[in-house]
């Protein structure tokens, strides 16, 4: 499998760092962003193969970004994983059109498996 481009958008630097570390180990290219307002521009310019989105972020929430992705013809088929520690996260993610929801705190290797499965 060739290297893929993965965008991670989470306002928490720690989560981005740890995800970046394991996902780069698998040979993928990882782009990270903590400011959700920049997500749209990065998606347009980088055209990632998979996007990992946090739900609760300041100003623009994960489900809002996901809706934008799904509304735009060029991006609507990009697989998206929503990660969140909120109790109603699964429901919000499904309604917004996520391919997968993973609750925080997650098993990091389950996360890797989910990423690989969606990229396959």
């Amino acid at each position: 499998m060739g290297a893929k481009k993965i965008l991670i958008c989470d306002d928490d630097r720690g989560i981005i760092d740890v995800l970046e570390m394991v996902l780069e180990e698998t040979g993928h290219r990882v782009i990270t962003e903590t400011n959700s307002l920049n997500a749209r521009a990065i998606i347009d310019s980088e055209k990632p193969d998979l996007i990992i989105l946090d739900l609760w972020m300041p100003v623009l929430s994960g489900d809002q970004i996901l809706q934008m992705i799904r509304r735009t013809p060029e991006t609507q088929d990009i697989p998206v994983i929503i990660i969140s520690a909120s109790r109603d996260g699964a429901q919000i993610a499904t309604e917004a059109g996520a391919n997968k929801f993973i609750a925080k705190p997650f098993d990091i290797y389950d996360m890797v498996d989910s990423v690989e499965a969606l990229l396959a």
Binding site: D12, I15, V18, W56, K104, D107
Partner: protein, 518 residues
């Protein structure tokens, strides 16, 4: 009795003899006692009495004729009616008295006496005629009636007083309750409003009492839901309980009210009046909402860094060097375990509501109490290497309890001791066996607490203002500890002095026997 010679009258004319006899017969058949006295004789003696007089007085005729009437009063001489009689006789007037008389056998009877003078053509008084009736029965009834009336009056007075007392008492209750109370007449006019109503809705009694409810304060009470309640619901289901109404009042803002209404159905002066109790639950609802928000946010925020820690831990565990020491591997394993426990704690935070309703399930088993204490201290020690935790004493006991819960309590007490005493590095833990309980005390030399903090330390979400300023935290740890110890039938308490540190202690029953089945 032959009464034809009752009197010794000199007859004016013999032709009247027959008429006279008839008259005497008539007098004798009268039920009223009749006497005639001769005023021309000394001491005005009785010269005639009829049969009824003999019956009433109990004296035979021969003991009556020739006597003055006063013998009837026996020794009861001081009656004012006697003066009245004497006066009338002197002045030749008629008079009417009720006087106490006595029969021959000494029995009292009330004599209703009508006395009239008889005058000759020259106006001289020749005789007096007395007509008397025994009115003892009537008198007795009258007296009885008077007495009854007096008793009744006294009773009414007493009852009125009691009523006024209880009314004042009830009023003071109504004025004291922290709930708005209105009494409405059947047309929804306000008959009374209590203090709390006036205070809550910032009005005074003058502008409230006597006004139609809907017209109160520029029609601000003209609320559709309230009309529903009073017009639709109350007539069909009396009383109405906990009816929620939200309304935006022009001056005091949006209020959420819980209304309870009751229409009086008893016959009487209060019939169809309506009692309306208004509880302002705006603040309560807001606090509940904030509590829920708080719990969501807190658990969310706590889980975020935990996710990172857990991720790094997993990476470390996968990349243990082959030559790594056993200690290194064991330490990593321990951190993983504690991270997992932290995650569980946060999940439990979300289940605080479970604690409130007492739905915690205990998984009790026998365990070595001293070993558990040692392990907890060891665990805490690694996370706070600067602090020195000094363990004193042993319980030498096996305890039947939910070990994970007790670990949680001890962990919490130790982390508090470290957290709230950052400048003093010693924490003392003492363990002992007291009767059929084990006892643990955790002593720090930190901030200490004042009386108010001590009282409220175990309340949910309570944080003392000083702690609030200097330390992060949610005010939930001690609440959960207290609940856990209570669930195990033990007690948790604190001894503390401001500035000198605190000692938290708990006891726990050792044996199954103590288990009350919770």
């Amino acid at each position: 009795m032959d009464t034809s010679d009752n009197g010794k009258f000199e007859l004016l004319s013999s032709s009247m003899t027959d008429n006279f006899k008839l008259l005497v017969k008539a007098l004798d058949s009268s039920v009223s006692g009749i006497v005639i006295t001769d005023n021309s004789l000394e001491d005005n003696p009785i010269v005639y009495c009829n049969a009824a007089f003999e019956a009433i007085s109990g004296y035979p005729r021969n003991e009556i004729i020739g006597h003055n009437c006063r013998f009837l009063q026996a020794d009861d001489r001081s009656q004012k009616e006697r003066d009245q009689l004497r006066e009338s006789i002197k002045n030749g007037k008629d008079c009417f008295v009720e006087i106490r008389n006595y029969r021959k056998n000494g029995d009292l009877f009330w004599n209703e006496l009508y006395m009239a003078p008889v005058k000759d053509p020259d106006g001289n008084i020749t005789h007096f005629i007395g007509v008397q009736n025994d009115v003892s029965k009537r008198k007795a009834v009258e007296q009885d009636l008077r007495q009854q009336k007096a008793i009744m009056e006294q009773r009414v007075e007493d009852r009125t007083m009691a009523l006024r007392d209880s009314e004042a008492f009830l009023t003071s209750i109504i004025e004291t309750v922290r709930e708005g109370l209105l009494v409405l007449d059947p047309d929804f006019k306000v008959l009374s409003a209590n203090q709390h109503f006036l205070k809550t809705f910032k009005v005074n009694a003058e502008e409230t009492v006597g006004v139609n409810l809907y017209a109160l304060g520029n029609n601000q009470w003209d609320i559709a839901r309230l009309r529903d309640l009073l017009l639709e619901i109350l007539p069909t289901s009396n009383p109405v309980v906990d009816f929620e109404v939200e309304h935006d009042f022009p001056h005091i803002g949006k209020k959420l009210m819980l209304l309870n209404a009751y229409r009086i159905e008893l016959e009487g002066q209060f019939k169809d009046q309506i009692l309306l109790a208004i509880e302002d639950i705006t603040d309560r609802r807001e606090i509940e909402r904030r509590k829920d928000d708080f719990l969501s946010i807190a658990s969310h925020e706590l889980k975020t860094p935990l996710t990172t820690i857990k991720g790094y831990m997993q990476i470390l565990e996968r990349s243990i060097p082959e030559q790594a020491s056993e200690k290194f591997t064991a330490t990593l394993g321990k951190i993983s375990a504690y991270v997992e426990r932290l995650n569980n704690l946060i999940s439990e935070l979300l289940d605080v509501s479970k604690i409130q309703t007492g739905n915690i399930t205990l998984h009790k088993a026998d365990f070595d109490f001293d070993k558990m204490v040692l392990e907890v201290i060891e665990g805490i020690g690694t996370s706070a290497p600067r602090h020195k935790i000094l363990l004193q004493g042993r319980s030498e006991s096996t305890v039947h309890a939910d070990e994970s819960h007790i670990v949680q309590v001890l962990n919490n007490l130790l982390s508090n001791a470290i957290k709230y005493a950052p400048e003093s590095l010693n924490v003392e833990v003492s363990v002992s066996s007291v009767s059929d309980f084990v006892k643990v005390s955790v002593r720090d030399f930190g901030l200490g607490m004042n009386a108010e903090d001590k009282k409220r330390a175990f309340e949910r979400f309570y944080r003392s203002s000083e702690v609030q300023k200097r330390f992060s935290g949610m005010g939930i740890g001690l609440y959960i500890c207290d609940q856990i110890i209570q669930n195990h039938n033990g007690t948790l308490w604190v001894d503390s002095e401001k500035g000198k540190g605190s000692t938290f202690s708990f006891t726990l029953p050792k044996n199954k026997v103590q288990d009350n089945g919770r």
